[in-house]
């Protein structure tokens, strides 16, 4: 088990959010506001209200995640180190909130559809790698994004390595997919929309309740502020699903950014099998603001940055030591590769998968939690 340093204890303490306003960082506020206006303007010009709405939702997600310091990696680590499962309970509750919209709307054929992915060998390998990486980097897909947006020195290192790992993952996914797959497996397949929703809600709320009970038994309580954050994020996820026709996803945007940079550097990225598939091929050929995941990632950075500028969070930011920065880099690469092999991160695979009634989301959770055990042990090797 990891050795607890004061810093570790501080990192593992339940987060209380940043909603205490400090000194406003006016130069940064001006810069980030300008970038946000440019982003909204360009998205609005090309894709009209849809683009504007998604930029708005991304901003609000960034603000909510940053303001409440809502994360997955630290909550899972608290469970593994101290037995406090309250965050896990909230994460499954969030998934249940999303399922209330995703499953019935998909079943009714109203346009938006849930996120299904195959139960494959690559899923097992990738989710485990992701879990290890997110503990080393101290943040998952959304965590890296909002913490980077908020000026975290650790994430300034983790994000580029996440992007690099993500491109590497796109290169190795096609051959690893051929190692074996059971295809998509829907929980409650064959049932009516109502039946499917009932079965999945029972599973999600049952798991949330189990982790809540486990926490209470060990003397931990669910943080009410985080309960509010969970409800807010759930509502924003409904908005993204309704406007974009898909559940919210983070990591494909990183893959696209990396592929664009690699292509500009002369690497024939478009010849790799992943980038010959119709969806990724179209994304590579068009603007980075034409892909939903990529556009929302930019907006989330702006949202987190605005929150950090208003609350004075930048002034509190300091560099972690060199070993921790190395861990962030390694964690970023592992998460990047892992996200591509396992079809997403905590948001795109775990949250979207379980909320859509896809078995791959549950497997992702189990394997990422197992990977987190290794990640926590490795953190000790890196001195935190």
């Amino acid at each position: 088990m990891a050795v607890s340093s004061p810093t570790t204890k501080q990192q593992n303490a339940p987060r209380q959010g940043l909603w205490s306003f400090g000194t406003v960082d006016k130069p940064l506020l001006a810069l980030i506001s300008c970038l946000g206006l440019i982003l909204a303007g360009l998205a609005g010009l090309d894709t009209g209200l849809t683009g504007l709405a998604l930029v708005g939702l991304g901003l609000l997600l960034g603000m909510t995640f940053m303001g409440f310091q809502y994360g997955f990696a630290s909550g899972w680590r608290r469970f593994l180190e101290t037995g406090d499962a309250s965050s896990l309970s909230l994460h499954f509750l969030l998934s249940a909130v999303c399922a209330l919209m995703f499953i019935p709307v998909s079943a009714a054929g109203l346009g938006p559809s849930g996120s299904l992915a195959p139960v494959s060998v690559s899923l097992f390998i990738g989710a485990f790698m992701f879990g290890t990486g997110m503990q080393l980097a101290n943040g998952c897909g959304s965590g890296v994004l909002f913490s980077f947006g908020g000026g975290s020195g650790r994430m300034i290192v983790a994000l580029p390595f996440f992007v690099i790992g993500s491109v590497l993952g796109s290169m190795i996914l096609p051959p690893i997919l051929a190692w074996g797959s059971l295809g998509q497996i829907e929980i409650g397949a064959g049932l009516s929309g109502t039946g499917k929703l009932a079965v999945n809600l029972l599973l999600l709320l049952g798991t949330a309740g189990f982790f809540g009970w486990l926490s209470a038994r060990r003397g931990f309580r669910i943080n009410r502020t985080m309960l509010v954050a969970t409800a807010l994020i759930g509502l924003l996820c409904w908005g993204v699903f309704w406007v974009s026709n898909h559940p919210w996803g983070v990591t494909f945007g990183f893959t696209l950014w990396g592929a664009k940079i690699a292509s500009a550097a002369g690497l024939p990225i478009e010849t790799f099998a992943f980038w010959t598939w119709p969806g990724p091929q179209r994304a590579l050929a068009h603007s980075v603001f034409s892909d939903t995941s990529s556009l929302m990632d930019f907006a989330m950075i702006i949202g987190a940055g605005l929150t950090a500028a208003v609350t004075g969070a930048f002034a509190k930011s300091a560099w972690p030591n060199a070993r921790q920065l190395q861990a962030a880099a390694l964690g970023g690469v592992l998460m990047g590769i892992g996200a591509r092999l396992s079809f997403g991160c905590n948001i795109g695979a775990f949250l979207a998968g379980t909320a859509s009634g896809s078995l791959h989301g549950w497997i992702w959770f189990a394997l990422a939690l197992a990977g987190s055990v290794l990640g926590i042990r490795l953190r000790a090797k890196f001195g935190f």
Partner: protein, 66 residues
């Protein structure tokens, strides 16, 4: 005074952050202005025989008869 957990550096994360975010958005805006844009936002799962959010096609691993 910095704690042992922090690195003493003359370059603050704030300065690196400003540089990084400015370059990131400059490159993204440059890409947007030089690439065709879709009139409707796209996601990889919308095209082809996609079986996953990243657009990975469905893989049939069952043996097929000759």
């Amino acid at each position: 005074m910095n704690s042992p957990q922090q690195t003493t550096s003359k370059i603050s994360p704030r300065l690196i952050y400003i540089t990084f975010i400015s370059v990131l958005f400059a490159v993204a805006i440059g890409d947007h202005l030089t690439s065709p844009a879709l009139s409707n936002l796209g996601a990889p799962t919308e095209l082809g025989n996609a079986c996953a959010p990243c657009g990975a096609p469905c893989v049939d691993t069952k043996p097929t008869a000759d």
